[in-house]
């Protein structure tokens, strides 16, 4: 059996300013996720950072736990997240609870 994978676009053509969280995406089937961020225009605030949130129901969120010390330009490369208990995932900036 060839390993299965799935790619989704969590957000598209969105201007991220201030605190921002992507819409929830269910991924109970996933053992791991690799996140990419693509800037369509030059970023005005290269110091932004983001991290992964997990949720059991899409409404209450907790940190996934992977250190998110990288800034967005670095983070725009692939980032691997191993999490076997994802039900919902979303991307959120530092500081959003």
């Amino acid at each position: 059996m060839i390993r299965r994978s799935h790619t989704t676009i969590l957000e598209r053509n969105v201007r991220w300013t201030g605190s921002f969280a992507s819409e929830p995406y269910e991924a109970a089937w996933a053992f791991e996720a690799v996140c990419f961020v693509r800037a369509l225009e030059p970023m005005l605030s290269p110091g932004a950072a983001a991290r992964v949130h997990l949720s059991a129901n899409g409404m209450l969120w907790t940190d996934e736990g992977t250190p998110a010390s990288q800034s967005l330009p670095f983070w725009a490369g692939p980032k691997r997240i191993d999490a076997v208990s994802i039900v919902y995932g979303r991307l959120a900036p530092e500081g959003l609870r």
Binding site: N13, E26, N57
Partner: protein
């Protein structure tokens, strides 16, 4: 003789999941979302050069996902069978839409039939019924004639939606749309155009199309429904429409029809969508879909 869901149709007994449906003689696809996305993807508006050229209404459409239908109070529901259903979720904003579609082409200008087992609910953000938080969900086909068609060179789009609520009031009726939205040029090359066919304007009531569905009594309980839509690619007209026990007169409903577009010959794209009526995410879940046809041998 057409084995239209007859009890002795051995195709249906070969797979009990298929026996829930009444397909025409040729099954074009049978998608059970326990087996993945099966080619259903999000709808994106046409663009040229920049995503910014897309019609604004298309920018926020949310893509489908595979859902275990997990509720905060009772845990995982799963599909009608198996674990997963296809889920469409809007953003939490009145009028927000999520759309899924699958892209095929057709090979015989004859009868088509779309059957869907589905349910809908808003996100259970409050311990209330929330029965008016979902505005609508719907099913459609995006069709175009072949490049050697002898009749009118048309693109045809049958649309049917269940208007559950509007501006916070229950509506609970089926509607169709034949009104054409403006076709706008995209970019500057003259190659691409776009129209927002799911706009809130131009919907008409299906005759005797009021129907109260089994919404159930709290926001975290789901009951599965069945819908069947028959459409003939030869006459480009509806031939059948039913939801659960209700059979509606197909002569009272009509599709959008407008001149064919250059690059869409024989297009056959089934699609479905859900729309929010409140600042709450609206969800449409689909357990399985069958598209079938009468195909010449």
């Amino acid at each position: 003789m057409t084995l239209h869901g007859a009890p002795n149709d051995t195709r249906l007994w070969a797979d009990p999941r298929l026996s829930r449906f009444s397909p025409l003689s040729r099954i074009l696809f049978f998608d059970d979302f326990d087996c993945g996305m099966n080619g259903w993807t999000g709808l994106i508006g046409n663009y040229e050069g920049s995503l910014g050229t897309m019609l604004p209404e298309y920018r926020d459409l949310r893509p489908p996902m595979l859902s275990t239908i997990s509720m905060w109070d009772t845990g995982t529901v799963g599909g009608l069978d198996g674990t997963y259903a296809l889920k469409l979720a809007t953003k939490p904003r009145p009028g927000a839409l999520a759309v899924a579609l699958k892209r095929l082409t057709w090979r015989y200008a004859g009868p088509l039939q779309l059957e869907v087992i589905f349910t809908f609910k808003p996100e259970a953000v409050a311990l209330e019924l929330l029965e008016t938080d979902v505005r609508a969900f719907g099913f459609g086909l995006d069709l175009q004639v072949g490049d050697r068609a002898t009749g009118a060179a048309e693109r045809v789009m049958p649309h049917l939606r269940y208007l559950n609520a509007l501006d916070g009031r229950r509506a609970e009726k089926w509607q169709f749309k034949r009104a054409i939205e403006p076709l706008r040029d995209i970019g500057g090359s003259g190659k691409t155009r776009s129209h927002f066919h799911l706009a809130p304007t131009g919907w008409e009531d299906v005759p005797r199309g009021d129907q109260r569905l089994c919404y159930n009594e709290i926001a975290t309980k789901h009951n599965w429904y069945y819908v069947r839509i028959g459409f003939d690619l030869g006459s480009m007209a509806f031939t059948e429409f039913r939801c659960n026990d209700r059979v509606f007169d197909p002569s009272g409903i009509a599709p959008m029809r407008f001149p064919a577009m250059p690059n869409l010959s024989c297009m056959l794209n089934p699609f479905m969508w859900v729309e929010a009526d409140a600042p709450t995410r609206a969800f449409l879940y689909v357990d399985s879909v069958v598209l079938s046809a009468e195909v010449d041998s």
